[in-house]
């Protein structure tokens, strides 16, 4: 192609390629997601506070971290808004309050009634959709299995025992995907309970996660039976299934500045 023609065409091109800006002038807004962790009816406090779980076991939690990804909102008309996948990988870390509040930007101002997000990293995307750029964040948070080039989706660590006084035995659950042959990624889908009417003022969805359900939502775990679960093709998928069922929407509130 001769250069002359290119330059003749460029103004047209620029107009055309930028023209969809008009469409994008629909209103967008921010949406905040807040993650609250509790144990049954009590707030989760790390290190020291003991709780009772199924099978009469008592436990305390030192570390609770997990990865969420692929955030989607379902409109009341049934359509889905997908948050840009490459922007949607987060580590939620109970120890780091700033990680418990996620600000999503440029959400179309519309009406929504469901939220979906992934627990872990969807291997079908891997290594596409910008997940590579999540590596340093996962690394800083110790959510990378370097020797298996994979992500730890969940890190739950603490102590347990048969009575409050005996909560001193360490336990550790590390759940992720195992190479390419066992995918523990799960999609969490939650009804918002009411219609989320996003207008220009940012709002916040408060998500509750119940730690007791990690032990007992679908599959009951007695910690004493196996207190170190990592790369475990039998138990890891069950814990992932429990994780999927441990969230609920608490409320939609006006985001505080």
């Amino acid at each position: 192609m001769r250069n002359k023609e290119v330059f003749f065409l460029l103004p047209i091109l620029l107009l055309l390629s930028c023209s969809d800006d008009d469409v994008q002038q629909e209103l967008t807004t921010e949406l905040n997601l807040t993650f609250d962790h509790h144990v049954g009816g009590e707030d989760l406090e790390l290190s020291g506070q003991t709780y009772e779980k199924n099978a009469g076991e008592h436990f305390s939690i030192d570390t609770l971290k997990y990865i969420i990804s692929n955030i989607e909102l379902q409109l009341t008309n049934g359509d889905t808004f997908k948050y840009p996948v490459e922007e949607s990988y987060f580590v939620i870390n109970e120890k780091d309050p700033s990680s418990l509040s996620i600000d999503l930007e440029d959400i179309p101002a519309d009406n929504y009634d469901k939220i979906r997000f992934g627990f872990g990293i969807d291997q079908s995307n891997y290594p596409l959709n910008g997940v590579d750029n999540f590596v340093p964040t996962a690394e800083e948070n110790g959510m990378l299995w370097s020797w298996s080039a994979g992500y730890k989706f969940l890190k739950l660590e603490g102590e347990y025992g048969n009575s409050i006084a005996e909560v001193e035995q360490k336990f550790l659950y590390h759940v992720g995907s195992h190479g390419e042959n066992l995918d523990n990624y799960k999609v969490v889908e939650l009804d918002l309970g009411e219609t989320l009417r996003l207008d220009q003022d940012g709002q916040s969805i408060r998500l509750d996660m119940d730690v007791l359900k990690i032990f007992n939502a679908v599959h009951a775990f007695e910690i004493a039976e196996k207190d170190d679960i990592q790369v475990d093709p039998v138990n890891a998928p069950k814990i992932a299934e429990n994780m999927k069922n441990s969230f609920q929407v608490d409320a939609i509130v006006q985001a505080s500045e």
Binding site: L9, L16, D132, H178
Partner: protein
């Protein structure tokens, strides 16, 4: 006018709203795409080159990264330290890889060639994708012992890298994705198919000696059920009955899957360039191909999860071979050597 519209259609896919029209035209001319060699008889590519098409600038950047010690915590261990070109990108004579501060790994560095055709990576398949593999050597303590985040910081502090990332990638970002993409672009170009075997069997421009021909027949009857196809591997994880080395007690694939049935299984290696890639086995315990065949002849042990393929017709584990048969098989294996790969300046450090 129709012609103009087709130009528009083509350009539309290339032009973003940056408005830097001259740069767009120049970039297209400057950073040419490279063609990944695909011998007609090779299996299909497993690496999706449409997602990360190698370009001149990306390849050049990948090569610089491959040979740069900045990727390690000590600043001196590069990828090329353990993957030396002269030896088909293995750590010649080192049984196990050596890392930062003289640390010893537990496995023998694998050769780098035909990676765009591999289904999974490392002796245990821990990385299901080439781009994911890089995390392992960079972050493993006994290898490069570094954090990806630190590597990116070091690269950002180096103006020459900023320039090269700009030239190689549209967004010019020094980030994990572009780091891995550049390394992958360098590596997928290492296609090895210039061997006597290829010339005899696929190009019809050479002939086997009688010994090589006999070795090929023996190989096909005794070895090729696992070392199958044009890459000479079925790309499976198998236990060949190698006595378990108590020093490492390496569970192999079992560590990745957590499945006890996978304990002590390892990736069946490609035999292309096997002449150059000594020492042999996942822990580099054998120095010569003779030792390897002696093992198959008389050293195979019934370890847990030993492959059924290892049982001979008498239902005894092992592949009985006479001395003469061993020599013939080795003669054939040496026809799988690609000297060009070991000399190709495109891949050379200097």
């Amino acid at each position: 006018m129709l012609r103009y519209w087709s130009y528009i259609a083509i350009l539309m896919t290339l032009v973003s709203c940056s408005g830097d029209e001259d740069a767009v035209v120049e970039d297209l001319e400057e950073n040419k795409e490279l063609e990944v060699p695909q011998p007609a008889y090779f299996p299909e590519l497993t690496y999706d080159i449409n997602e990360n098409p190698p370009t001149e600038k990306g390849f050049e950047l990948g090569k610089k990264l491959f040979y740069d010690g900045k990727l390690s915590s000590s600043g001196v261990i590069s990828c090329g330290f353990c993957h030396m070109q002269e030896f088909a990108f293995t750590h010649h004579t080192h049984r196990v890889s050596h890392g930062v501060g003289g640390a010893l790994g537990t496995r023998n560095a694998q050769p780098l060639h035909n990676l765009a055709y591999k289904k999974s990576f490392n002796w245990d398949g821990a990385a299901a994708h080439l781009d994911a593999h890089f995390i392992i050597p960079i972050t493993t303590e006994v290898e490069m012992n570094e954090e990806i985040g630190n590597v990116l910081e070091k690269l950002k502090d180096d103006p020459s890298y900023q320039e090269m990332f700009n030239a190689a990638f549209e967004d010019g970002q020094i980030d994990t994705k572009n780091l891995f993409d550049a390394l992958a672009q360098f590596l997928v170009m290492m296609v090895s198919a210039e061997t006597k075997y290829d010339r005899v069997v696929h190009q019809g421009t050479a002939e086997f000696t009688a010994e090589e021909q006999a070795g090929k027949a023996l190989f096909e009857s005794k070895c090729s059920s696992c070392h199958s196809g044009e890459l000479f591997t079925n790309q499976q994880y198998m236990n060949n009955g190698l006595p378990i080395n108590p020093q490492y007690d390496d569970k192999g694939r079992g560590r990745v899957t957590g499945n006890p049935d996978d304990d002590h299984t390892f990736q069946v290696p490609s035999l292309r360039n096997i002449e150059f890639t000594l020492p042999y086995m996942h822990d580099g315990r054998f120095d010569t191909l003779e030792e390897v065949l002696n093992f198959y002849d008389s050293g195979v042990e019934e370890t847990p999860n030993i492959s059924q393929e290892m049982y001979n017709e008498n239902n005894v584990p092992g592949i009985p071979l006479t001395e003469e048969e061993k020599e013939k098989i080795i003669a054939f294996l040496k026809t799988l050597s690609d000297v060009d790969l070991t000399l190709d300046e495109r891949f050379s450090e200097f």
